[in-house]
Amino acid sequence: MTETHAHMHDFEHHKNLYIKIFAALMGLTVLTVGAKYLNIPIVSVTIFIAVLIAAIKASLVALFFMHLSAERKIIYVMLILMVLCVIGLFLLPTAMQHGPITGTTASPLSVAGSRANGAGHGRGGEEAPLAAGTTPADSAAEAGAHQLESGAADTGAAAAAASTTETPSKENH
């Protein structure tokens, strides 16, 4: 690739191409911002349009600015490996789609035996192995998951829980 670019007439050709791509990127930016101000009532359509335009823009940058349109085979092979792993990565949210995660539980989940801060550790006795003698991280986390899943997912409850934690929360504004 290096050699092919070295010629002068190639330079003019590439410069024109880059300017065209630049114009396209700018145009698409205007389009995506414009689509936002259309205020399409269906959220999924908004998301679809925004992601579609972003994907087109990203492809333009990758293909022409990063020269992926004319790259060596080894780079493609490597990127294919990466894409396979990215697919695996996006399996992750899919694997997690088993119920809302924001819903609060009726009775707040308490973590036995953990210490909120460094000071003042309470030590549990030997007769309560799960309380002190262990790190019940796994069990606690899993128990949390179970509880959360069964919990109601309504906004009101979440908002109420958020306000009890005394943290400024946007929905209270």
Binding site: V43, R72, L89, H173
Partner: protein
């Protein structure tokens, strides 16, 4: 079992000058792979970066889809229905980054035709535009803090600050590298022009990637 001896002849002996072993293919591509070491290296690094930001986008999906839609809406909109984050500022930043991408690629193209002074002009413009991005980001963050909107406020702001913050760190990294090639690193052009061109190309690939991440961050955080 004995395979035929390869027809390739040994390459020239990597000579050593005491302190450094000479590594091959730093300036010229290896014939059979067609790439230099640095180019393969930066693509591997970018693949890794894709996984880093991919994990964050995954997190975004998990956090958002785990939340009722109106709760999410209440997090990223003001009481009057306008968006919490400033779209004009982000659009300005998009323009800055896209423009810096084309100046970056031009800086490389000028080097390819051995025009060093115009290369510096373009590279300087890239650095300048990157700084503009940071200035806008500074005001954007400042405005949020002024209204007592912190990462801890809610999970929309948490993911916003985390993703843009990590992106800003990447922008700063790219700026430092480009500034190095603009000033102290530029002297390599005199001694090893091919290697220097390769370095600008590699630095450019990274810079385009930073732009590419922003291209996704912009709609995901501001427009959805």
């Amino acid at each position: 079992m004995v395979a035929p001896a390869p027809s390739v002849t040994p390459a020239t002996l990597p000579t050593s000058c005491g302190s450094d072993v000479v590594i091959q293919y730093v300036d010229k591509p290896r014939p059979d792979t067609g790439v230099t070491n640095a180019k393969l290296g930066i693509w591997l690094f970018l693949a890794s970066e894709v996984m880093l930001f991919g994990a964050l986008f995954s997190t975004y999906i998990v956090i958002r889809s785990g939340m009722p839609a109106d709760l999410w809406h209440s997090f990223n909109h003001n009481a009057d229905g306008s968006t919490l984050l400033s779209i004009p500022m982000a659009t300005l930043n998009t323009v800055f980054l896209i423009t810096s991408s084309i100046t970056m690629v031009m800086a490389w193209a000028e080097l390819m035709r051995k025009d060093f002074s115009r290369h510096r002009l373009y590279l300087g413009a890239t650095v300048l535009l990157g700084c503009c991005f940071l200035v806008v980001k500074y005001f954007e963050y400042g405005a949020k803090f002024e209204h007592h909107l912190y990462p801890s406020t809610n999970n929309f702001l948490a993911i916003y600050f985390t993703m843009t913050g990590l992106h800003v760190i990447h922008v700063i990294g790219g700026l430092l590298v480009n500034a190095y090639f603009l000033f102290p690193g530029a002297k390599m052009w005199m001694t090893e022009p091919d290697r220097f061109t390769g370095r600008i190309e590699v630095s450019g690939l990274y810079w385009h990637f930073v732009d590419l991440v922003w291209i996704f961050l912009f709609p995901v955080l501001y427009l959805m």
